[in-house]
Symmetry: C2
Subunit: 223 residues, 2 copies
């Protein structure tokens, strides 16, 4: 799909898929380390079968959680992520050989834009994944995404800070959130008082047999 962006040209549809949020609103930990990419928010992913991102046929169990997870890649040609999702480093890059959390088989299998103030040469993998490092606003990153994968949807992959930047810029069309029934108490919030979702989005919510509540956010028709 493409989306008519009011006041400008057509841009790709922008989606958030399968973002985990705790009951108290946290979507990631504060303290991320190489051994623990989610930091102290690791409880968010307990019981999550990541294989379902590539389709329900890739997991042993046909569950509602897995079915919803399978939305992850549908029609997506490129992901945009924050630097913290790519790695734990901050500041200028060093020659440490880091190629992301995922080894030589990153699950994306598409171009990925990593938002960072420190641009560098792309890192490419045999399975189609290629990390492009870009110092850009959300709108600029979207324009680059459309160049990298014309005619496809764009996934905003997180973490919560980058999702919030796209929300603030009013550049998110749909979101699929998974509200996990755990209380984290500290970490990075998805929403932080700066956005009132009900003004911009229609939100459906269903609690699955696992106890996780899934929310689907759709942009309201613009007047």
């Amino acid at each position: 799909m493409t989306t008519e962006n009011p006041g400008s040209s057509t841009r790709p549809t922008v989606r958030v898929t399968g973002m985990f949020v705790s009951l108290d609103g946290y979507a990631a930990g504060n303290f991320v380390a190489i051994e623990q990419p989610f930091g102290e928010a690791i409880a968010l992913t307990t019981g999550f079968d990541g294989r379902a991102i590539h389709g329900i046929d890739k997991v042993p169990d046909l569950t509602f959680d897995n079915a919803m997870t399978s939305l992850w890649g549908q029609g997506i040609g490129v992901e945009i992520m924050g630097r913290g999702k790519f790695g734990p480093q901050t500041g200028p890059w060093t020659e440490d050989g880091w190629r992301g959390w995922w080894g030589e088989e990153p699950p994306f299998e598409t171009p990925v834009i990593v938002l960072t103030h420190h641009e560098r040469e792309p890192i490419e993998f045999e399975n189609g994944t290629a990390f492009h490092f870009l110092d850009a606003t959300p709108a600029e990153a979207l324009a680059r995404a459309a160049e990298l994968a014309p005619g496809t949807d764009v996934r905003i992959g997180g973490g919560p800070t980058s999702v919030r930047q796209f929300l603030e810029a009013d550049l998110i069309d749909t979101m699929h959130l998974v509200i996990v029934p755990v209380t984290i108490g500290t970490g990075k919030r998805l929403l932080d008082g700066d956005i009132a979702p009900v003004e911009r989005f229609e939100i459906d919510a269903v609690t699955m047999p696992s106890g996780r509540t899934h929310q689907l956010w759709r942009t309201k028709p613009r007047g």
Copy 2:
């Protein structure tokens, strides 16, 4: 996935996806005509957006119903259908030029086995759909499906009579049913007193905001 079939060799995983059933248990009408493939059970598909079978990016609305519909093609390499799903004719085929309900762009885009007592030459389409007409038991049809698309899952596409045949033969691994809140009163039932699902399946059920209840059936571990 492949499934260990007790007492025999490995066979493909067999799935039913997105099968509509009325509150009173009917999955198709009795009286099917060229103008009305579902017969008097047309109310089952009201409000259904068929484009979602090819992915959530193909529909305008991110809804739970559309998300679940997108399971349809995931990992599927071949469909097996009853003759009534292919066309309204009965008995020996005539030279009437019938190529299915779908025109020159059938949505399957894979081989399709049509179960019929009247075999005939395959009918092929440019988009990858090819109808193969086979007089076979469910187990024989599955063996042929595995030849046509090795290593992929098999979808049993309906109608209800053919799904029930595979259930009776204990050859269904998972089912996704959509219970539509309408009362049809007459037609073809999915279950007809011959099978007790709870003996063989774990069943999760969730009612979506649309009012449709989705059921996911998973085969219980075999002792």
